[in-house]
């Protein structure tokens, strides 16, 4: 509270706000942001639902095929990356910087592999977004998810840069924890997308 008294005396800053909840404001902010992201996916899933109801026929529609297996491998890759980011966070909580750096780099690598596989899938899948509502919704959902992977990777890149420049400690690791939460969300979302598009 020393800082605060000083601030009040010299009018250098506002008084310390009262903390009226045990939740950390940044973590709460991230959860709310994720709630709205879930709803954005919800809008796309609604569109998917309509496409599927209108199509009525077997899914994917007859001329189309989906590489279920490759996408399954990709799913495994992304799920693994959830564990590596968790490991990175656990490491820094124990002040293990090497573990943090390794975990972050591994996660980044897995994420990039996932994205590249997806790009490859796009180029081989044999139809494009303009090919009927089926093509549209396939690219719409996977593309939306891909964009989220990209955002997640960007956040993780920032965290890695900071990790390598010596930031974060057992006491201060929000900069890893929060992108980590986002990354878990991206993973879970992928499982939902995968199950609806490829399997159901």
């Amino acid at each position: 509270m020393a800082t605060h008294a000083e601030a009040a005396e010299h009018h250098h800053g506002p008084p310390v706000a009262n903390q009226s909840s045990r939740v950390d404001s940044r973590v709460l902010g991230m959860f709310l942001f994720i709630a709205s992201e879930v709803m954005l996916f919800g809008a796309f899933f609604t569109a998917y639902f309509f496409v599927r109801v209108v199509a009525g026929s077997p899914w994917p529609e007859p001329p189309f095929h989906l590489p279920v297996f490759v996408a399954g491998v990709n799913t495994a890759i992304l799920v693994t990356s959830s564990f590596t980011i968790h490991w990175a966070l656990q490491s820094i909580k124990r002040d293990n910087r090497a573990g943090l750096q390794a975990g972050l780099v591994l996660t980044l690598a897995l994420g990039i592999v996932f994205l590249l596989t997806q790009v490859r899938e796009y180029s081989r899948v044999g139809f494009n977004p303009g090919d009927g509502a089926f093509g549209t919704i396939f690219y719409g959902l996977t593309g939306l998810h891909g964009a989220h992977v990209f955002v997640g990777l960007t956040l993780l890149t920032f965290a890695s840069i900071r990790a390598f420049r010596g930031h974060f400690s057992a006491a201060h690791h929000h900069g890893v924890e929060i992108p980590g939460i986002y990354w878990h969300f991206v993973d879970v979302m992928w499982i939902v997308v995968y199950v609806t598009i490829y399997i159901l």
Binding site: T3, H4, A7, A8, H11, H12, G13, P14, P15, V16, A17, N18, S20, S21, V23, D24, S25, R26, L28, G29, M30, L32, F33, A35, S36, M39, L40, G42, A43, F44, T46, A47, F50, V51, V53, V54, E61, P129, G130, G132, A133, F134, G135, T136, I137, Y139, G140, F158, I161, R162, F164, R165, H167, H172, H174, G175, I178, P179, I181, Y182
Partner: protein
């Protein structure tokens, strides 16, 4: 998002000021110069991205202007503008691990008018930025309404061709909704909400600044969509008509994205602020109703707004990338858009009303000198409206051809909303009972709101009954409903709020006589303009038409003339605000003898709101209770020491 740091944490970790800002070359310093060149630079960057990917994918032609405009013009260039203005400076240095200057709030306060034209993290400055720019967009949208009315004065087409007319009312409505009502509420709350809960600022001040600066971008894009042409599909932008519009339609879609992003970020900020930064003693059941109202509204925004983002993405993709979300020829489903759109846009009407309910509660209680009647039920009915609001979207689609079995359940939920809303209306009336009513301008607007909103709400109940809606859907009856709830409802509460907090925000009193003239002129001309619309609607005049049957000519002439008076009445407001802000008499800290916390500090409040976090000791509306107080400010000692800050 994750790099934003809460105020509380800054002060704990940030020792002193950090390194002084490096003196940079003037072209590199955050500001308008850098914004100008970075806008151009980012545009070129976007252009490069598009060309690169088209080249990679082997598309022909490599340089196609449509994707270039979407990516470079409507996405990258605005980002460049924000970056240039300094919206991202902190996060960029944070992300790169460079030394950051913790938020020491040295950017707080506004000392000259120029301070309003930079990225300022002070919630009070942001509040004023919000309110002034939204009033500007209100005037622009109003001007378009005047043109609409000029055209409709006679049955034939007089001034505009039919496409231009379609664009006029589309831009009119979109400006009013996305750039006036929604952000004006956000602006007022930005100013008073942290004060009301005893917080020194919002939880994420930088995010707050960024949310504001998205608005001018959205506004300019929306106006551009009018000149670019292409928004002629109504504010609802239903496909397939919207995908058939000229290219300017993507300006509309992107403007909605920017405005939507701004709303979501602000809502997130409000929620975190309300949850984590309330003053000691302020339990949820001691929060002023304005705070409750913004809490529920923000929940609505966070949950619903992504749906309109989705709907506009779909339309834009169908247009630019030739996808088939809504193209029936390719198995798309045209009605899908309407479901997704209204899943946002019905809750959106409550986003446009609940903060107004909050303002009305504050004003009515203060000027009746009585506690709000049934405080808890007032808060709970807000929550009930929130929940029900998500289950009624299809009442905009009763005649759309959707599955018929949806109609009766949606009708029932729609009608049920009348109950919590009724509770609110009756509680306001009960608050007046045995009160000591002072009819100052804010109170006039608040009571005007109650009566006009009841008319609009009752016509809403009529629309909720499916057989009536089948007859009057898409007629002027709807136009009447829209304006009774939005103009008589939301707009009236915005004026109540502006007049109520004008002394607090500017440190000056407005001219009470002019404010009253403004109110009465608006009230009368508003009713003269919009009440007859019920009649011509029921009798068979459809909406969104530039020409109509001669039998409606007389009424329309009358409506148009009244609407010009209505337009003129707002000029009184503009004059009053400008003159009073410049040279009105100085305002005392608490001109209305209000009890909530914002009235405990000077007008305008000190840069950091409080020297000492206030201690909340009671309910917010204990008027008439002997010795009751809502909050105490450190024995009032600090208040004397605080240096007043001029905002102009």
């Amino acid at each position: 998002m994750s790099h934003v740091t809460g105020t509380s944490v800054h002060v704990e970790t940030g020792h002193g000021h950090g390194p002084p800002p490096r003196a940079r070359h003037w072209a590199l310093r955050a500001g308008w110069v850098r914004a100008a060149w970075m806008t151009g630079f980012f545009f070129l960057l976007g252009l490069g991205i598009v060309v690169f990917f088209r080249w990679l994918g082997g598309y022909d032609p490599t340089l196609d202007w449509e994707p270039v405009i979407v990516v470079a013009g409507l996405t990258m260039a605005p980002l460049g503008f924000l970056a240039g203005l300094g919206g991202f400076d902190y996060w960029v240095s944070y992300a790169l691990g460079s030394p950051t200057r913790p938020e020491d709030h040295s950017g707080h306060g506004a000392y000259t008018w120029r301070d309003y034209f930079r990225v300022n993290t002070d919630h009070k400055v942001i509040g004023i930025q919000y309110v002034s720019s939204t009033v500007f967009f209100f005037l622009a949208g109003g001007l378009m309404a005047m043109l609409v009315r000029a055209e409709l004065a006679r049955p034939e087409t007089e001034f505009f061709d039919t496409q231009t007319y379609n664009e006029l009312f589309s831009v009119h409505a979109s400006l009013m909704i996305f750039l006036f009502i929604i952000p004006a509420f956000a602006g007022l709350a930005n100013y008073v909400l942290p004060l009301m809960i005893g917080a020194p600022d919002m939880a994420f001040p930088r995010l707050n600044a960024l949310s504001f600066w998205l608005l001018p971008i959205a506004g300019i894009m929306l106006l551009a969509s009018f000149f670019f042409p292409g928004v002629g599909a109504g504010w609802t932008n239903y496909p397939p008509l919207s995908t058939e519009q000229p290219f300017g339609n993507v300006f509309f879609s992107m403007a909605v994205q920017w405005a939507g992003a701004s709303s979501i970020m602000t809502a997130l900020n409000f929620l975190v602020t309300i949850i984590t930064m309330r003053a000691p003693g302020m339990t949820f059941w001691r929060m002023p109703l304005l705070v409750w109202a913004n809490f529920t509204t923000s929940l609505l925004v966070v949950i619903a707004t992504p749906f309109i983002a989705g709907s506009q993405f779909f339309v834009m993709f169908d247009k630019v990338m030739h996808t088939n979300f809504f193209d029936p020829g390719e198995n798309g489903y045209a009605l899908g858009y309407q479901h997704i759109f209204w899943f946002y846009s019905h809750p959106a009407v409550y986003i446009m009303m609940l903060p107004g309910f909050g303002i009305a509660s504050e004003v009515i209680s203060t000027f009746s000198r009585k506690p709000i009647f049934g405080y808890r039920l007032m808060a709970l009915s807000l929550m009930a409206i929130l929940v029900l609001g998500f289950s009624v979207w299809a009442h905009h689609m009763f005649v759309s051809g959707m599955a018929t079995y949806l109609r009766v359940p949606m009708m029932v939920t729609t009608l049920l909303i009348a109950i919590p809303t009724g509770i609110k209306v009756f509680s306001w009336l009960a608050t007046l009972w045995e009160g000591r009513l002072h009819f100052s301008a804010p109170m006039l607007w608040a009571l005007g709101f109650v009566s006009m909103f009841v008319i609009g709400g009752l016509s809403g109940v009529m629309l909720g009954a499916v057989p009536i809606d089948i007859h009057v859907s898409d007629t002027y009856f709807i136009v009447a409903h829209i304006h009774y709830v939005l103009l008589g409802g939301s707009l009236f509460t915005i004026f109540a709020g502006i007049y109520y907090w004008f002394p607090k925000m500017t440190g000056r009193m407005y001219n009470e006589r002019l404010a009253k003239i403004h109110f009465w002129l608006t009230l009368v001309s508003f009713n003269a303009t919009f009440f007859p619309m019920h009649l011509i609607g029921v009798q068979g005049m459809p909406r969104r038409v530039a020409t109509y049957e001669p039998q409606f000519g007389d009424w329309n002439l009358f409506i148009s003339l009244s609407s010009f008076v209505l337009g003129a009445s707002f000029m009184i407001f503009v004059y009053n605000v400008i003159v009073s802000w410049k040279s009105g008499p100085p305002a005392p800290a608490n001109p209305w003898r209000g009890m909530t916390i914002e009235w405990l500090v000077s007008s305008p409040p000190p840069v950091f709101n409080f020297d000492e976090v206030p201690q909340v000791v009671g309910n917010p509306y204990e008027y008439g209770v002997k010795g009751a107080r809502h909050a105490i400010l450190n024995g009032d000692r600090a208040a004397a020491e605080l240096e007043p800050v001029r905002s102009t």
